[in-house]
Structure formats: structure tokens, C-alpha cells
């Protein structure tokens, strides 16, 4: 069974006829070809699929595509404005906060939503903030530093 939905995806109003059993993550990756968000666990444990829906960071693997109807969604691809990377993306590159990169889109979207809510987090708040995102490579230290750099820019 399918349902027609309409929502805003990275600033553009889009329509889609989706299978009711499709997850939001599958729709974004396969129907819209936005493959930044990744499926790690498919069960809410790893955060690799994190996107921002109506201002909140969510695990796209735990949402049905039909539930996107009427919402405003930002994925990692939507952070680039006029070809310019988001300060978080720049900072992750400059601070070598990624190795294989699988966790990176989710990590950055989590950080993005966190900084919107709390522009000046402490190191502990950053650690807590990203605790729903697993990284198997970096040991987190560089990730925390990369987010801290952007938080400090917010202060200036």
C-alpha cells in the first residue's frame, strides 16, 4: 500500500508516493538519492542515520516515510549553501575528525541540532550530546574537538 506525501527536503518542497512500510531513511537514500545518512543498525542504536526533522535530530531508521508528510527535513546534503560547506563540515575536515566517514553525516547532524539548541556547550555537554552516535574509528576525541571549535566560533 502506498501514500502520497508532501514535505520540505533541504529547502525544497517535494512530493513522493511512498510504500507505507518504507522507512524515512530508505526513502531519502533510495527515492531521493541522498546517501549521506547511513544505515548502521537500523534500530536506533548507532545514530548513523541522524537527520533533522522540524528542528529535532531524529534516527531516520525509526521513522516511517509516511510520517514525513508536512514536515521540514534537513539532511547532511542540505548543509551546503551556495557551494559553501557548513562550519561543522569544515571543522571536521580541518580537525581530522573522521576516518572511514561512516558515522560522520549522522555525527554532524546531531552536532548541528545540538548547537542550534545550545550554541555554547561545555565539553561534557558535547560528550552527552553525541552519546547517541557511535564511531568505530576515531575514539571520539577529534570529533569532540571539531565540535568545540565551532562552538567557540559561536562565542566570538
Amino acid at each position: 500500500m502506498k501514500t502520497m506525501i508532501e514535505f520540505t527536503l533541504n529547502g525544497e518542497v517535494v512530493e513522493c508516493l511512498v510504500d507505507n512500510q518504507r522507512t524515512l531513511l530508505k526513502m531519502i537514500r533510495e527515492d531521493f538519492d541522498l546517501t549521506g545518512a547511513k544505515e548502521g543498525c537500523g534500530a536506533g542504536e548507532c545514530g548513523a542515520c541522524t537527520i533533522i526533522v522540524d528542528g529535532k535530530a531524529l534516527n531516520a531508521c525509526l521513522v516511517l516515510a509516511v510520517e514525513a508528510d508536512g514536515t521540514e527535513i534537513t539532511t547532511i546534503e542540505g548543509l551546503v549553501v551556495d557551494g559553501e560547506l557548513d562550519p561543522l563540515q569544515v571543522s571536521f575536515i580541518d580537525n581530522a575528525a573522521l576516518q572511514c566517514g561512516y558515522c560522520t553525516p549522522g555525527m554532524i547532524m546531531t552536532a548541528k541540532a545540538m548547537l542550534e539548541e545550545n550554541p555554547h556547550p561545555t565539553e561534557n555537554e558535547i560528550r552527552e550530546g553525541i552519546s547517541g552516535n557511535l564511531c568505530r574509528c576515531t575514539g571520539y576525541k577529534k570529533i569532540i574537538e571539531a565540535i568545540q571549535v565551532v562552538a567557540d566560533q559561536n562565542k566570538a
Binding site: G47, V63, V66, E67, S131, G132
Partner: protein, 276 residues
Amino acid sequence: MKTFEYLRPTSLKEALDILKNHDGNVSILNGGTDLIVRMREGHSSPEVVMDIKKIPGLDQIQVDEDRITIGATVLLNDLGLNEVIKTRYPYLAQAALSVGSKQVRNRATCIGNICNASPLADTATPLLALNADVHIYGEEGIKTVPLKDFFVFVRKTVLKPNEIVTGISFKQDPEALGIFTKMSRRKEVDLSTVCSTVMRTGTEYRISCGAVAPTPVRLFKTEAFLSGKTLTGEVIEEACKLAEGEVVPISDIRASEAYRREMVGVMLRRALSEWL
């Protein structure tokens, strides 16, 4: 995941009609953090998925002078970060914020946590200690069931197929002191190995535990023993022994039965010692 019909009612009446017309084959979709995982794993294959998030009025935490009501679609993050809940009922706020990750709590609801009726539901123990009531809408209108009578067994509640929970409320008791404890293998994004809320109002005590029985439970015998007593080291030891005997845990991947039993004593001892 098997396919299903997706319906999104905009009133309780419409929701009830959908439940009636589909004869028990409807799954209510709230935040979906339990339901969608179960559907993916094939444990649940409903014909109809009814999304209740567009029913107006269910997303509020209503603070009245004598009662607080948590609406059916209130998110765990909104409950845990609510000023009144944080200041007057910090143990409830802590329980709400102990569930999953930020992303999970941005979607998961308190009512979903309760209706899912897992033995380890983290928000169940503070609400049991607060003597909360569950408000249920069905063909005869709204009825109220005490939370302690709502749970029947693992993942089973008294809810009938054409009933829907509109919210949970409890009598304001800002004087009550409570301590929520969650023991888990990992600090974040982990399920409780055991959890509990210990509450004190005057010289009365209320104790509830999760993951030590088929449902979250109150330890009424231990409470009766403590009632009216002045806390001393000896009284606390006696109470802990009683509590360890009052629970009926099982062994599973998270812990053994013996460990859980002992931790019930540890949690109670630590909490009561705060009030010596």
C-alpha cells in the same frame, strides 16, 4: 516489514471509529521507537497502523494546582526538560532522560513507554511511586485505571483492542522526595538491568522496581514494614532483605536473577541512607 494501511486520525472520535472498524488489527503508532522496531523484526504485522500524533490536545503537559497530566504524545525530552517536572519531580525527569539517546527521546513518548509495558520501562517506576492514573478513551468515554493495575504481564496491559490512552496523571505532591536509580551496563543508550524509584512522604515510603518481575512493580510489603518507622541502619537492613525477597527477577542477557535481587537491596539501601 509487511505492508499495512496507514491512517492518521485528527480526533479521538475518529481514532475510536478506526479501532472499531478494524477489529483488533490496528497498531497505535506514537513515537514508533518500540513499534517500528517490532514491525521490522516481524514481531508485529498489523493490518492498520494508526498514527495518533495529529490528534490535537494530546501533546501537552498540563499543570493544575492539584494534578499534573502528561498527554499521550508528550515526548520524553519535553517531559524531562519541563521546568515544573524538573524542579518538583526530578526523579521523573531523570527517568525520562535516561531512555535511549537524545534522538530516541526526540521521538519516543512517555505514554508509549508505559503502553509498551516492558518490565524495564524506565518511566514506569517514578509514575508507580506517584500513584499515577492512566486515562483511557473507549466506547464508554473516558475511564481511569491506576497505573499499578494497568500492567498485566510482559508487554500486556488491561487495554482492550478498541481503547486508546489519552494521558497519565498524578496528584501533585511537591513535598515528596524521590530517588530514581538506573543500573545499566553502559551509561547512554542502554536498557535498565534494574531500575527503581524510592519515594518518601513524611514517614511513608513508596518503592517501585523495574526489570525484576514480569511488569514494573511496587514493593508493598517492604513499604508496609517501613511505614511510620524512624530510619536506622538496622531498619534499612531489614527493609533491604524484605525487598530482595519481594521481587521475582529472571536471568537474561543483561544479568542473572541473583544479581538483580542483590541490586534491589543495594538501590534501596543507597536511597534510604540519603534520609538517615
